[in-house]
Symmetry: C2
Subunit: 335 residues, 2 copies
Amino acid sequence: MITIKDIAKMANVSTATVSRVLNNNYPVSQEVRERVLNVVKEFNYRPNDVARSLKQKKTYLIGLLVPDISNPYFMEIARGVESVVSHLGYHMLLASTDEDERKELKLLKLFYEKRVEFVVLATRQNQATILNEFIHQGLKLVMVDSEIEGVKADVVVEDNRYGAYQLVQHLIEQGHQKIGIINGLMDISTAQERYQGFHDACIDHKVPIYESYILEGAYNRKKAYDSMVHMINSQSKDLPTAIFSVNNDMTEGVMMACKAIGLQIPNNISLVSFGDIRVPELIEPKLTIIHQNPLEIGQKAGEILLSRISNSTSVPYKKHIISSKIKIGSSVKRI
Amino acid sequence: MITIKDIAKMANVSTATVSRVLNNNYPVSQEVRERVLNVVKEFNYRPNDVARSLKQKKTYLIGLLVPDISNPYFMEIARGVESVVSHLGYHMLLASTDEDERKELKLLKLFYEKRVEFVVLATRQNQATILNEFIHQGLKLVMVDSEIEGVKADVVVEDNRYGAYQLVQHLIEQGHQKIGIINGLMDISTAQERYQGFHDACIDHKVPIYESYILEGAYNRKKAYDSMVHMINSQSKDLPTAIFSVNNDMTEGVMMACKAIGLQIPNNISLVSFGDIRVPELIEPKLTIIHQNPLEIGQKAGEILLSRISNSTSVPYKKHIISSKIKIGSSVKRI
DNA sequence: ATGAAAGCGCTAACAA
DNA sequence: TTGTTAGCGCTTTCAT
């Protein structure tokens, strides 16, 4: 592999000069510049970024750690990050944690050893103490999607509580008093907050909350399907009139359950969802949902990290809340 | 930042010894090993991988270049790659080309400067000559999804021609003689091959091909929708009895068009698709499709690149074809 | 405007 | 088993 030394020799200059013309950061005479450039072109020389990184202590690497890189939601976030950092020459190192705490830790460690300048972390586990330890060692972090209480890092999340609140309020306004919820894993901040929104809306409007209508969906479609089928079968004489599904994946499960059993939405049961299902254009009815914007989360995270990289002055960590808009469909029956 | 030198000093050994205990590649006495390990732990030392890469000329980096990192199809491929390379300590650098040839070239160049050990490229453009130039300079490449004729690299693709062939043959077996096709961009290999399959099936079974039934879908949903609507409106007295949609995204567009206009599938028109639509569970009817397996493409690409990295002996480049299975649904009417 | 040389943080060949 | 040291390919300070 051809190095700067080779180029220097061929152009009859020092390596310093070659570096200067390549980086355009110090005065070089026209004549020498051209001579060097010619040799560079002739040999198709490409500087070794590893060496440069070592010398400059700058890798232009951003690590992205998400539960699953094939999950469109997270990849929209990634896309958002990429869109703002790529212009500055940053590249993204991507990896899936598979929701495995040990793997996540291992990846954080590896990212750190690769000297990524920042990591964007979408995690649903791990303790604040462990993450803070990394941070203490100099790892820069910005958390997206979920929050972990006590972590010393910026956070970009959706307005989960208020989004959920709006959805449930809408149900109540349409006359619903028996509202069920398909819940996420309660050790995850997003699930807690969305549940909180449900809870607050019910309390504020004096609507009772029934234990038996609180279903465990575990943030996955299969589980949501099973829970829903089970409830319908076991409480068929006294079903809720409306369901609030806490994420889009589970919403698909709920709809599949209704379809399988023959419950019509919204005739037999109403449904609202945090996040839209896929290809809604082909599916009836149009759901009333909270519209999510993962791209914006990613962009925000990208901006934050860029500004932290450039401004070494330590401004305090902040929680950025991306507001979520409700979109009214026809999945709620007025009763 | 703490370095191997610091550790060496604190443990009263040479840097070489620290390196040895960390890498476990040379004999070190128990006593010294423990001493070093203690200091490492105490200071939470993490070796600088940039320096190691420079020295070893090994980055453990795989570059992935796809049109769009938020496209689930490509991210399934990425997932496949990751699943096989991550065990060996490889990391993935990911970037979107946005179908922009210049951007793609720039990214290839940057990946090269970062000294990625391999790049997995899913591209739909660029000439073989340009790519071969990179390869000539030492860039290792494996192409996925699409093929570019003449590129000196391994290729992993689906069996596009035969998949399409099966689909169209199925239509013909069900009695269809007037078959339309929503086509991709014909400068992309996958589109060419799928069209070829359509063409061959028609020829082999002596079914006529009508020019006016060959629609431009441009591999995108919106265009497919528009083309479909236009055809239905302009040729309403003599529509094809069946449509072959060349990719899943366009299939969604076709279904939306049918829905908008009130054409029922398969009653009024039959439909087969290369690749399944999203959430098929919630959509009627079940389509007859070719089942795609991007994960497998990624895994295969990962295996290939791993074996090329380890076996320096140059085996000839090969085209790997992932076979595609037909899945019969209820979207084709027997006539 | 240019060159010499130190050094980024490691690894590994060589010596002891 | 351990230490010394050269060197990976760059950048940048200091001379000139």
